[in-house]
């Protein structure tokens, strides 16, 4: 009887796994399942919209890949990639030395400065001295977390880590923290929102440190998938050259997000 039971249990486990097995080949595009305007944010019909969603569509179309959007938790996005739950990351992920030890990146597809925002009426600037004694919010597993810990945390500021950017912005609006460090474009989108307009203002960009902040944002992929990497690089190059990139970028930004 034990044998029967074991067989039943095993076949069931396999059955469920097999039922979940999708037909082969589509590329699963992972990005963080959270609002990160203007790059990715969910809309009321359950779809995702934003600059990065358009970028993803353009790249997949150019590279003739059958892409499926697969939202995952940001703090688990690299394990999700290495355990093959997703195949590529298009999630505003900066290319850094640290990450390159674990995963691979395509060429960069945008590069923006890093800013700090804070409550209106409290004057300070985005320097270690200005943030001394203040609490600064960052998103976990980001270059901003590393930067804030090194430059502000070791100089008398408290660094508070949030699972999503949205939570950090929210706690700034609620007054629980004094400042938020993040991508300047994402912060700008927040400052333009109703909530951000009421509470906060830009305090300036931080001093660049390419070793931590990286050299722009690239598509993350598993190591050793050189064929896919070449395809993605070619696609990024193509949409840059044929004007597609500029067309959809103009809908969101009045400057060149690709950076120098």
């Amino acid at each position: 009887m034990q044998q029967t039971l074991k067989t039943i249990a095993l076949s069931l486990a396999l059955g469920i796994a097999a039922a979940g097995a999708a037909s082969a080949e589509p590329v699963k595009v992972g990005f963080a399942a959270e609002p990160y305007p203007p790059f990715t944010s969910p809309d009321a019909s359950g779809n995702w919209e934003g600059w990065e969603v358009e970028f993803q569509k353009a790249v997949c179309a150019e590279a003739k890949l059958d892409c499926v959007i697969t939202p995952v938790a940001w703090d688990g996005i690299i394990p999700a990639l290495t355990s093959k739950k997703i195949d590529i990351i298009i999630g505003s992920m900066s290319i850094t030395e640290e990450r390159l030890k674990t995963i691979d990146f395509s060429d960069k597809y945008y590069n923006t400065p890093t800013g700090v925002i804070g409550a209106k009426g409290v004057a300070f600037d985005a320097t270690p001295e200005g943030l001394k004694g203040k609490t600064i919010g960052v998103q976990v597993s980001t270059v901003h977390q590393d930067y804030a810990n090194k430059y502000f945390g070791e100089n008398g500021a408290t660094v508070k880590e949030y699972q999503t950017q949205d939570e950090a912005n929210n706690d700034l609006a609620a007054g629980r923290i004094d400042a938020v460090q993040a991508d300047a474009i994402a912060l700008d989108a927040f400052l333009k929102s109703d909530q951000g307009q009421d509470c906060c203002e830009m305090k300036g960009n931080v001093k660049d440190d390419p070793a931590i902040l990286g050299a722009g944002v690239g598509i993350g992929l598993r190591k050793g998938e050189d064929e896919l990497k070449a395809k993605l690089n070619a696609a990024i190059k193509a949409i840059r050259e044929n004007g597609t990139y500029d067309t959809f970028s103009k809908k969101y930004f009045d400057f060149d997000i690709y950076g120098g």
């Binding site: 796994a17 959270e34 809309d43 359950g46 697969t70 938790a73």
Partner: protein, 241 residues
């Protein structure tokens, strides 16, 4: 955001720009995972309970380890471990057996992790229930020359059901609430879509309360069915006051 109305009910409308439809789809996902995980857990539980009661010493000890670990480690930790490592390990095993890797969807992974957790709980509930079945009934079935499998399906399972139902119905309610933990791994069930909706609209209190109402409705509706099933299963029992 207009300050004249504190609550903007329009945000809950079923059609965009309202987020009601998204919430309901999230609820549907939650229910799917709860049903799948519960059923998978029940099967694991039947196997586990019989293994614990009638299995050899080694099987019994392995089952004991399984239930002890699940009962001592927080669900959230188990879910993370199973979600990242469990599906990976399953693929390794399948590879070794020679079936080749399968592409495990988020839904299947969710059902798998909830099922493994529920399996340990239902093992314990069912073991208690089987022990409550008078031993004479099972002995009588054996004396008739029934095969062990037949004893299980014809006598043990039906006879223990009334004893198991209160515990099993509680486990169902727990399964529905445990699905919320999948929000932490980014699965689009009710709690996560609620947070996305709240984050996008900044109407936190409205959406969290709406999701709470949906979960509560699920519990209350379940309770009605549980009452019916309990009454049905206790037919022929002497009412105890």
């Amino acid at each position: 955001m207009a300050a004249d109305t504190i609550i903007n009910w329009g945000l809950l409308a079923l059609e965009p720009p309202g987020w009601g439809g998204v919430l309901l789809r999230g609820l549907l996902n939650s229910i799917q995972i709860a049903i799948g995980g519960y059923a998978f857990g029940l099967l694991l539980g039947v196997g586990g309970a019989f293994g614990k009661l009638y299995g050899g010493p080694i099987l019994r000890d392995l089952m004991e380890c399984y239930t002890t670990i699940v009962r001592a480690v927080p669900e959230l930790v188990l879910i993370l471990l199973l979600y990242y490592a469990g599906t990976d390990a399953l693929n390794h095993v399948l590879n070794l057996v020679g079936i080749g890797t399968v592409d495990i969807s988020g839904l299947a992974a969710g059902i798998f992790v909830i099922g493994v957790v529920q399996g340990a709980y239902s093992t314990e509930v069912l073991r208690g229930a089987i022990k409550a079945v008078p031993a004479g009934q099972i002995e009588a079935a054996r004396a008739y020359g029934m095969s062990p499998f037949k004893v299980m399906t014809r006598v043990t399972l039906p006879a223990m059901l009334p004893y198991a139902i209160p515990g099993l119905s509680n486990l169902w309610l727990i399964a529905t609430k445990d699905t919320a933990l999948l929000a932490v791994v980014g699965f689009s069930e009710l709690t996560l879509v609620t947070r996305q909706a709240a984050g996008a609209t900044k109407a936190y209190i409205l959406f969290f309360c709406a999701a709470g109402a949906l979960y509560l409705a699920l519990t209350l509706v379940s309770n009605v069915f549980i009452k019916i099933i309990e009454r049905h299963s206790r037919r022929g029992f002497v009412e105890q006051s």
